[in-house]
């Protein structure tokens, strides 16, 4: 028993240990480059500083990544999150912009409802394609990823919709208890999702479906519903992120909102230690991953790295993360999974290659 708990704690340390190290490392680099980077001052009633920016800006990514985590845990993937964010942001801003009194709370609430509504539809659509018809997730969601931009364009009729609604702005740039509101939203969502997955059986069932879908089916799990559900959740998370992204600049640009966020989210999930092959997932890991990615972006600006090299810089850090995590994986694989019931090829490929690698 003891040995076990200690081993588990070890493992979990493994899983979150390295991401934490990287995050701290990045912050340290910034601090060295510019000591004031870590400084946080009080400006008209709220905290102010690069750290706060990072946290605020990472909020939407956290939302998207949390939804993505569940999808990936079932062995799927959702490429359409960026487009969904763009759509929900667009519809919300469109509605507000058409109202006489943009500051009316009711108006904003309706706008949010509309956005969430469309996100639900989008999520359901993805879920149906994957679970209902059985199109492979990458393809199924790729469709909405591409077509979604078109939809967003249609909603904004190709324009950039500018709004002037303080309640809506609050979502993106408001402060509460000296901290950005967006953070509280992100925290709330993360908390909610973890409770729903971990206090109910949803988490285990998701992991079962991701781990061995056929076995789950024969165990009487309604995999289709579960899969549908996670895509819906993912869609809604993306929709919420869309509000933040548009509220941040009080305008909706169908083309730009949430561009590339799907890749960032996938990275966050993987850096957080959830395998793309599905199965066990870690929400806390994902949150960490999101923070790392945002810090990376901010670092590029803060250190004013030239646009050409910034991409390389980012890539290098990601490699670094993967590399230092690899040994941990490897150890895990060799110690805890040699007889793994065939995880999907890539995973196995790595798994077994690592085994091959084990030094005699």
């Amino acid at each position: 028993m003891n040995t076990l708990t200690s081993r588990l704690s070890q493992a979990s340390k493994h899983q979150l240990f390295w991401p934490v190290v990287v995050l701290v490392g990045l912050l340290a680099v910034n601090a060295l480059y510019r000591p004031s980077f870590l400084g946080v001052e009080m400006k008209d009633g709220h905290l102010y500083g690069s750290l706060i920016d990072i946290v605020r800006l990472s909020a939407p990514l956290i939302l998207v990544a949390v939804g993505m985590t569940l999808v990936i845990a079932t062995g799927g993937i959702d490429l359409s999150v960026g487009s969904v964010a763009s759509i929900s942001g667009a519809i919300a801003c469109l509605h507000i912009s058409q109202q006489p009194d943009q500051n009316a709370l009711s108006v904003v609430l309706v706008a949010l409802a509309l956005g969430i509504g469309l996100s639900l539809v989008a999520g359901t659509w993805n879920g149906m394609l994957v679970a209902g018809i059985g199109i492979q997730p990458i393809i199924a969601t790729l469709i909405l990823m591409v077509a979604g931009r078109g939809l967003a364009q249609l909603i904004t009729s190709g324009q950039i919709i500018t709004i002037n609604s303080s309640p809506y702005r609050t979502i993106g740039v408001g402060y509460w208890l000296t901290l950005p509101v967006s953070i509280f939203i992100a925290i709330a969502v993360v908390a909610l999702v973890s409770v729903v997955t971990r206090r109910t059986a949803l988490g285990v069932i998701i992991e079962a479906v991701g781990g061995n879908a056929e076995a789950s089916r024969l165990a009487g799990i309604r995999s289709r519903r579960i899969i549908l559900l996670v895509y819906v959740i993912c869609g809604v998370c993306a929709g919420l992120a869309g509000f933040m992204l548009t509220a941040d600049v009080s305008s909706a640009n169908g083309n730009a909102v949430g561009l590339w966020v799907e890749l960032d989210a996938i990275l966050a999930v993987v850096i957080g230690g959830t395998a793309l092959s599905g199965g066990r997932f870690s929400l806390s890991g994902t949150v960490l991953g999101a923070l790392i990615i945002q810090t990376l972006t901010t670092t590029v600006y803060a250190m004013n790295i030239t646009p050409q090299t910034s991409l390389l810089f980012k890539a290098l850090v990601v490699i670094a993360v993967c590399l230092i995590q690899a040994p941990a994986f490897r150890a895990k694989f060799t110690r805890r999974r040699p007889a793994a019931p065939l995880p999907p090829p890539q995973a196995t490929a790595s798994g077994q290659d690592q085994k091959v690698e084990v030094p005699a």
Partner: protein, 307 residues
């Protein structure tokens, strides 16, 4: 602006109307949409049949689209090149097909100037220069160093390269003027804001912001106010384009100067098309009528602003 409604005509010059094939860069900004609208309205007004194509920022798309125009034997082809270079091939094809080509708003760097009839559009270098010169003029009294931060457009794009070039050339006149940080904001508000936030924190003393387009400037506004600074006062803001939101900001005194980059070249384009079709000779470089705006001029112009 969701595309044109004409799909009836099976292409070619079947109907008597002049058929104009136009390939647009995309719909990346309010400016671009205004440009698109201007062209569509003007075409309709002139009674042309417009075959409109949106290249979504991809040169391949644009080349493919142009080849299609050639096949469909349109009377005149006009397009705003996504990038400057790599057009010789397709332009030659057009020339072989005896279809005149007009470049709008962005030029190409083909050595053979006979490949296209004319280039109508703004001069990005000039826009940069105008911005720079205005700043030099404004700060000539300044004794100490003036710290400038620059929000570049999408890396590698012609407007970004040229506006940077022109601006740099202009401010060289005053050694006090220094660009202390320059980072791409991808022509978007979110980009402009996120970058500016860090600029503000990294550089305690920023006197001037030069943004390659209004949208980035507008994004930066948020960052500046959040930093407790007053845009237009603590930090002088210069942008390019003069889209409605930008002009509003200028009129409200948040911006200090905008070099116009007018998208309304539709009418000009259409009578060029007529001329070309009629075989008249026209100059190979035509600049869109555009000016610059100070806050006062903005207040005056705003009510009559089309976009």
């Amino acid at each position: 602006a969701c595309g044109n409604s004409d799909t009836g005509d099976k292409g070619g010059t079947g109907s008597g109307k002049i058929v104009l094939g136009f390939s647009q860069v995309g719909a990346e900004s309010g400016w671009r949409t205004a440009n698109t609208n201007s062209i569509k309205e003007a075409a309709a007004a002139a009674g042309f049949e417009l075959k409109f194509d949106d290249a979504q920022q991809k040169q391949e798309n644009q080349i493919k689209a142009i080849r299609n125009f050639i096949q469909q034997k349109v009377d005149v082809i006009a397009f705003s090149p996504v990038v400057e270079s790599g057009w010789d091939t397709v332009l030659k094809e057009a020339k072989d097909a005896k279809i005149p080509v007009i470049l709008t708003d962005r030029s190409v760097d083909s050595a053979d100037k006979t490949l296209y009839k004319t280039f109508i559009g703004s001069d990005f270098v000039k826009e940069g220069k105008l911005s720079g010169e205005w700043l030099v003029e404004k700060t000539k009294s300044a004794t100490g160093p003036v710290n400038i931060v620059e929000l570049q457009g999408t890396t590698g794009s012609a407007p970004a390269n040229d506006r940077k070039k022109g601006f740099a050339a202009a401010i060289a006149a005053n050694p006090n003027l220094k660009v202390i940080a320059s980072q791409t904001g991808d022509f978007t508000r979110a980009g402009g804001k996120a970058v500016m936030e860090q600029f503000l924190k990294a550089n305690p003393k920023i006197d001037v912001l030069f943004a390659h387009n209004d949208d980035m400037g507008l994004g930066a506004l948020e960052a500046i106010t959040a930093a407790g600074k007053v845009p237009g006062k603590d930090i002088t803001i210069i942008t390019i384009d003069a889209v409605k939101d930008g002009m509003q900001a200028l009129a409200d005194g948040k911006f200090n100067f905008i070099a116009e980059c007018s998208p309304l070249l539709g009418p000009q384009l259409m009578d060029l098309v007529k001329k070309v079709k009629a075989g008249e000779t026209i100059p190979t470089r035509i600049e869109t009528q555009e000016g610059t705006f100070t806050q006062e001029q903005a207040k005056a112009a705003l009510p009559t602003r089309k976009y």
